[in-house]
């Protein structure tokens, strides 16, 4: 029964046809263009390479539509080097007897840079926010992570073939009859990954979001064009946030250490109702992000009675005017703020989509249902568990190939439901049973500081870099995080 969640969601209206015109319903599409962030691009494991791009949900939908000339900016995948020359791709590696996360390859260069027209998949990693899809008309490499990748995907750098054109402009230049728009995720995600939830800094204010989302969607709307939009998933419920419990665990078994039959809370810098002198045990409901793994390995956050340092795990913060200090703790009130902002932004996405006749896919609801019950198909159960669940990739943030295939299937079901079309659903067995490993020969690299979950501070830095802090904001880590080239060969 759990396995039918998506189908139920479709039929129950989670996928909502906000406006359709049966008299003119279209059953086939000839030109599909996608605009958005890393979830459009197909990012997995902290990087975007051809191996991922060919498995992106966007590409899979194009395949099912029978579109042969679907062009993407195909990034080559390279073996690891020291130092790295590209953004590292993360995967499962072995550290001693433990399965953890490490770098397995790195991003290379765009193999399709000479394409004279705009790409059909205009999704770009680098943490673009909603405004970037209309405002970023000239990318400036070196200015921000967003600019760096936009220069590759949008190619709108000064002197480039599309200088002066935003992602929306480029999409319109292709005159598509089907557009996918999944945007807004990074307007809340940065708060979750940096563990700093501050309105106007890591969270986009509602009014500003609404104005820009409207501008993006109305900019894409055109007569005879079908637009599919998506809500923002609960970013406080991804493995990056939920894998490490707020209590002391045995690194070998990953089971809570019990004292007097009770688990022992990890230490944080804030006072609580039962603790007036920091460091204090984390209150229930606190999220501890994956980068805490390396700190826990050093005894940080663990009481001295259990062999730790007694020092608190770092809480993040923002120092005006422009310094972001990432942390690894999201206290319950911060979690609530992020979740409420997500709900508020999703309400805007729904209303703007309705006003513009878009087909809305409520990923927020779908994701929460899958998180609660798993996704079952053919006797297989996939979950949102880190590394072993199957739905998320090794960065704990982006979907895996299995996750993207399920999204592709959901999009096609939504299109069929809304348009009365009969687009063939994708072959999920291909995504579930085909190994997804680097195409180049490479040995996995282990960062020994990564702790029991293998997630080192350097990986965190890479991840936040790829998410791209806002232009003009500098990031100062609480603990010095070296870049990944410190990796040791095994």
């Amino acid at each position: 029964m759990k396995s039918m969640l998506f189908r139920a969601a479709v039929s129950a209206g989670v996928v909502t046809v906000l406006a359709a015109s049966p008299l003119f319903s279209q059953t086939t599409f000839h030109k599909f263009v996608a605009v958005g962030d890393s979830l459009i691009a197909g990012e997995e494991g902290n990087c975007l390479v051809e191996r991922h791009q060919n498995r992106s949900w966007v590409k899979q939908v194009a395949n099912q539509l029978g579109i042969s000339d679907f062009q993407q900016p195909l990034i080559s995948e390279k073996a690891l080097s020291n130092p790295l020359t590209g953004q590292p791709c993360l995967g499962a590696v072995i550290s001693g007897q433990t399965i953890t996360v490490g770098a397995v390859s790195q991003m290379g260069t765009n193999q399709n840079a000479a394409l004279s027209r705009a790409y059909d998949n205009l999704g770009f990693i680098g943490s673009p926010r909603i405004k970037d899809f209309v405002d970023l008309k000239v990318s400036v490499p070196g200015r921000s992570g967003t600019d760096n990748i936009a220069a590759v995907i949008l190619r709108n750098f000064a002197g480039g073939p599309f200088e002066g054109r935003s992602a929306v402009d480029e999409a319109n230049s292709l005159n598509p009859d089907l557009v996918g728009l999944w945007a807004g995720n990074n307007d809340v995600l940065g708060a979750a990954t940096s563990a700093v939830a501050i309105d106007g800094v890591t969270l986009t204010p509602i009014g500003a979001f609404e104005a820009k989302y409207t501008e993006v969607l109305t900019g894409l709307a055109a007569s005879g064009r079908t637009i599919v939009t998506f809500t923002i998933p609960d970013v406080a419920a991804i493995p990056f946030e939920t894998t490490i419990p707020p209590v002391v665990v045995n690194p070998a078994t990953r089971q809570p250490v019990l004292v007097g039959g009770q688990p022992v809370g990890l230490l944080g810098p804030r006072t609580t109702a039962t603790c007036s002198t920091p460091p204090c045990p984390l209150p229930s409901g606190t999220l501890v992000t994956l980068p805490a793994s390396s700190l826990l390995a050093q005894g940080i956050g663990i009481p001295t009675a259990l062999g730790g340092t007694g020092l608190p795990l770092p809480d993040g913060g923002f120092t005006p005017p422009s310094t972001l200090n990432p942390g690894v703790l999201l206290y319950p009130e911060e979690v609530a703020l992020i979740q409420q902002r997500t709900i508020d932004l999703n309400a805007r996405i729904a209303s703007i989509s309705a006003a513009n006749g878009a087909i809305l896919i409520d990923v927020y609801t779908l994701f929460n249902e899958i998180k609660a019950n798993g996704y079952e198909i053919g006797g297989i159960t996939l979950t949102t568990s880190f590394l072993t669940g199957g739905l998320f990739s090794a960065d704990g943030v982006h979907p895996s190939q299995m996750g993207y295939a399920i999204i592709a299937d959901g999009v096609i079901q939504a299109l069929n439901a809304a348009k009365g079309s009969h687009i063939e659903r994708p072959d999920l067995a291909q995504a579930l049973l085909t190994p997804n490993v680097p195409t180049i020969s490479t040995a996995g690299e282990v960062d020994p500081s990564g702790g029991p979950y293998g997630f080192s501070l350097s990986m965190w830095k890479e991840l936040l870099d790829s998410f791209g802090p806002e232009e003009g904001i500098s990031v100062v880590f609480p603990v010095k995080a070296k870049r990944i080239p410190r990796l040791v060969h095994r």
């Binding site: 995967g91 072993t388 063939e424 072959d427």
Partner: protein
Amino acid sequence: MTGRSRVRFSETFVALALLFLVAAPAHPAGFSIFAQGAKASGMGLAFTAVADDPSAVFYNPAGLGFQKHFSALVGGSLLSKVKGEFEGANPYPGTSFGVEDQSKSTFYLPTFYAVLPLTSNVNFGVGVFSPYGLGFRWADGERFSGRFINQNVVVQTADVNPVLSLQVAPTLSVGVGADYRLSKVQLERNRAAVNPFTQSLVDVAHIKLTTDLQDNHGWGWNAGILWKPVPTFSLGASYRSKINVDYRGEGKFTQRLTGNPAFDAAVAAGLPQGKQKVSVSIDFPATVNLGAAINLPADFRLSLDADWTEWSSFDRLFIDFANTAIPDLLRPTNWKDVWAYRAGLEKKWKSFAVRAGYYKDRSPQPLADVGPILADADRNAYTLGLGYDTDRWGVDVSDIYIDFDHRDTRGHVNHDQFFGRYTEKANLVAFSFRVSF
């Protein structure tokens, strides 16, 4: 009854039942097997108002009331799965697996019946037969696309059915009996897990559930009435009660190595060790059979049946592991009650008989439940039979060709999220030998 005596009682029947539980096919609607006599099989299984040989123990115990001699009937049937295929479709398992086959074994289903007149109008009868059976084995189980749902499922039954019949009037007989059912189930499947190194699913374990016969049994009863208002016409009705069997058995988890030592070690650490206690419960349905038979000129006889099976009793399959660390399997089946319609014709030339028949069985299984465990389907069956009868002995042979409709889960809600088209055809050869004194 004490536990000790119960064991002895059971063991007596276990030895007998083992002789009968050699195989278990999927046959008429659901997993009931209505072909329990060669004569009936030749007549389209429309036998409720005929019931004129010892197989009446199964079809209508009232029929024994009109049988005035000791008779014993030994027989059986050979059921061959002529075709059993699955063709996958998107989204899962997709088209890449091609057409996959079920095992096409031939199953042997023995029967034994006897009737013993006690007085001029009271007869004792006994039957041993397998009224339910399911065998769904996929030929290449380790590569079958549905191996994470089922590779092989077996349900076997052996009933011992003593009955008493009373001819209350020259034209009317009634019968009632006790139905002791032994049963076992077996289920095999593979378990998949995500290999974090390849971010893909791999087989990590084989799970085999088995139950023994000794402690898996249930009781029920059957009854019937047969009225022959005139010598050339009869009406019959019979009933067999629901029987619940609570199975106790064990599950064994055998690791499938992937070749990655670290991953295999992690799998091994999470795999249940040793034999795990497991329980399963099945409610076998009640049945009602209504029949009419009429003798026509030129030694023709026509019989008609309408048979109802209360398959709604099979509303779920629940496999319960005693070890709470192992997830239970709860599969809603939501089967529905069904009617089957049967017609048979017999032509006699003195001791020789030629028979033909047809029946239409409706499947009780909703499309949502159709899957690699069982893909039941509506079916049309065509029967032929031959018989030779004397007062002292008789022999019957018959053949049933069963043409199943396709079951296609594409585009429909399916509990297994497993889509494609199932095709099946079967043939059954039945035979029996009777001696009478």
